[in-house]
């Protein structure tokens, strides 16, 4: 059996499941309010005392986990909060017992935070529930499982995991975490990622996992497999061993420049959707930000982000990246990425519909705010602007003229910006790849969006499992357009990069090098792997293989051709056996 959730802290693990049982229901028996208030007071005081002790302990430890300190500190503040106390007292006065009153008051406050529609604040709702739960349990005499002394390696399996529980846990023994609830930004996810524990959250179906059985957790893909056959268990162990070995091998590629085996310098940039991913990429010394997916600033928010909010984010990137390119792509929403605050209608054929630059050109008032913000940030570093989903020359011209309008406004306001800010476009619609010689004359750089290009060339929705076998970036039809785009950019003398899953696919990588691509933009976690793979590719040989690939008639033909030319060392990095488990 294989379950699918969200990978919240990367890694792979295989260990016995430790299923954490749910705590007892709190009884809502009515009692005498006076006695209950006293019971509450004592429990609150004990709680504060315990948290203070824990805080002191944590501060003493040499490797003080600052996320943990902040959390304990906040929980103590919540426990001490008079607004929270008033809420509890209110329920006690209505006749509820102290523990039930605590749970109710905590739920009220948590719900208020969740209704604000801000993802950061919604996560804090969990903190309030947690403080309430701990307080109520302490009054009921129930203690949460003790994870501080574990006898063997385990993967924790739980409905949700209290960060407090994890913060005192014996983390050397906890090989993985699997929860049904939670998101990538929940406390547990952040803590686990800080501790380097592979974690999958938001995973339905975990109740089927039995305590003590072997679980294979792939927190790269976000899956958990269980009820494994002996053969699968063996395979799981091999995968973990290989994974650990490779992780160690990749250490030396964490902060170096990338070269092919015959010393051709290749730039490896990062794709990011928030500043935390940018920080991670900086640690890996990425050659710049090749793609900032700004639509994530717009999603899950009750209103559109203001110019000032956007400037703050873009400027911090421009400053932190000290002259390395920071490529900001204007919003690519619609299709699979809806934005509530734009009130877009659902469309029958969203990927071919009203999205990305099409929305921006139709609603220039929204577009202008983003363009102004990007321009203002350009005064602080090497900021570049990139338009997504361009399908014809007229769209590009319109986008550029709105950019000119933004510049004019800023000049009139005496706001500094880079007058020569590089303007680029995504090549992801087949027409632009076919006409890439024409487009190259109008922009400063190209970035090939291989995900969309593949789905448009092959007319295969990349989110539809039923056509997944058609969607393949190794299809010679896709490859020819990519090669044409790279060639035309070279002839026009403009840089060309590729951002998309293809850049992280070891099979495709050698072909792209062979086509002459010198710039890749990948997810931060892939950077060391790509550098390592590049060091194993010989440019001259890759050119020969790439020429032959263009003459193939099917993706299978291409895959067989490339597979046949890879060295054994390189082939070790193609992990295609993982999917066989579960």
């Amino acid at each position: 059996m294989k379950l699918v959730g969200i990978a919240a802290s990367f890694g792979k693990a295989a260990a016995e499941a430790m299923v954490l049982s749910a705590p007892p229901e709190i009884d809502a028996d009515r009692k005498d309010p006076r006695g209950e208030k006293e019971r509450l007071m004592t429990a609150v005081q004990d709680g504060i005392k315990n948290l203070s002790l824990e805080l002191d302990e944590s501060k003493k430890k040499i490797e003080g986990n600052s996320a943990k300190l902040e959390m304990l500190e906040m929980h103590r503040t919540i426990l001490n909060d008079y607004v929270f106390r008033k809420g509890i007292d209110g329920y006690i006065e209505q006749g509820y017992c102290a523990s039930s009153s605590v749970m109710r008051a905590a739920e009220d406050q948590a719900a208020t935070l969740e209704n604000l529609g801000d993802s950061f604040l919604s996560e804090r709702a969990q903190d309030i529930r947690e403080v309430g739960r701990r307080l109520a349990y302490s009054m009921e005499g129930f203690s949460e499982p003790d994870l501080s002394h574990l006898e063997k390696n385990v993967i924790l399996v739980a409905e949700s995991l209290s960060p407090a529980l994890l913060s005192v846990a014996d983390c050397g023994r906890i090989k993985g975490i699997l929860t049904r609830r939670g998101s990538r930004t929940s406390h547990v996810a952040i803590l686990a990622s800080g501790l380097g524990i592979p974690t999958v959250v938001g995973c339905a179906g975990i109740e089927k996992i039995r305590d003590g059985e072997l679980v294979f957790l792939d927190a790269e893909k976000g899956t958990a497999s269980f009820s494994l056959s002996e053969q699968e268990k063996e395979r799981a162990k091999e995968i973990i061993a290989l994974y650990e070995q490779q992780k160690a091998d990749l250490k030396k590629y964490q902060a170096c420049e990338a070269f092919t085996a015959d010393r051709k310098r290749i730039r490896v940039l990062c794709n990011i959707m928030d500043t935390s991913m940018a920080e991670k990429s900086l640690k890996y010394s990425a050659d710049g930000i090749g793609l900032f997916r700004t639509e994530f600033l717009y999603m899950d928010k009750p209103r559109l982000p203001s110019e000032a909010e956007q400037v703050a984010v873009y400027r911090s990137l421009a400053v932190n990246w000290k002259g390395k390119p920071v490529t900001i792509r204007t919003i690519d929403i619609g299709g699979d990425k809806p934005v509530e605050s734009l009130h877009l209608e659902a469309e029958k054929n969203a990927f071919l519909g009203y999205r990305a630059i099409r929305i921006c050109l139709d609603r220039p008032e929204i577009f202008l705010i983003q363009l102004r913000a990007i321009l203002r940030a350009s005064a602080f570093g090497n900021v570049q602007i990139m338009f997504p989903m361009i399908s014809n020359i007229s769209e590009l011209q319109q986008a550029k003229s709105i950019l000119e309008e933004a510049k004019k406004q800023l000049r009139a306001e005496n706001q500094p910006f880079n007058e020569k800010i590089p303007i680029g476009m995504m090549v992801e619609i087949p027409s632009t790849a076919i006409l890439s010689d024409k487009f190259a004359a109008l922009v400063d750089f190209f970035s090939i969006g291989s995900n969309d290009l593949t789905q448009y060339v092959l007319a295969a929705d990349r989110t539809n499992q039923k056509v997944a076998s058609i969607y393949n970036h190794l299809d010679p039809g896709v490859l020819r357009l990519i090669e044409l785009t790279i060639r035309n950019s070279r002839e026009a003398g403009i840089p060309c990069s590729l951002c998309g899953e293809m850049a992280g696919d070891p099979l495709a990588l050698s072909l792209l090098i062979g086509f002459g691509l010198e710039k890749f933009s990948v997810n931060p976690g892939r950077i060391p792997l790509i550098r390592n793979l590049l060091s194993l590719i010989d440019f001259k040989r890759a050119q020969t293989v790439a020429d032959q690939a263009l003459k193939q008639s099917s993706s299978k033909g291409v895959a067989d051709l490339v597979n046949g030319t890879l060295s054994k060392e390189y082939r070790n990095w193609l992990q295609d056996g993982d999917d066989l488990i579960g």
């Binding site: 208020t112 203001s306 909010e309 984010v313 911090s316």
Partner: protein, 86 residues
Amino acid sequence: MVNCVITVKNPTGIHARPATELVKLATKFKSTITMSHDGKEADPKSIISLLSSALKAGTVITLRVDGEDEELAAKRICEYINNLED
């Protein structure tokens, strides 16, 4: 009574950590303190009150401090909010 107007400048606003610190700071003073914006009022002595007022980047806050240590309290709180970075 002291009144002043401050704008939240740090990109992530007054989220968990800054709110915790702000409560620590505000509870040191005896004065009554309110932070109002867009018709809502927050008490910086309560983390619950602060978080539920969603003080984001760009929020303009009117700070009102009333009591024996109002001058110092207003000064410190303004300084604190102005110096927030992340």
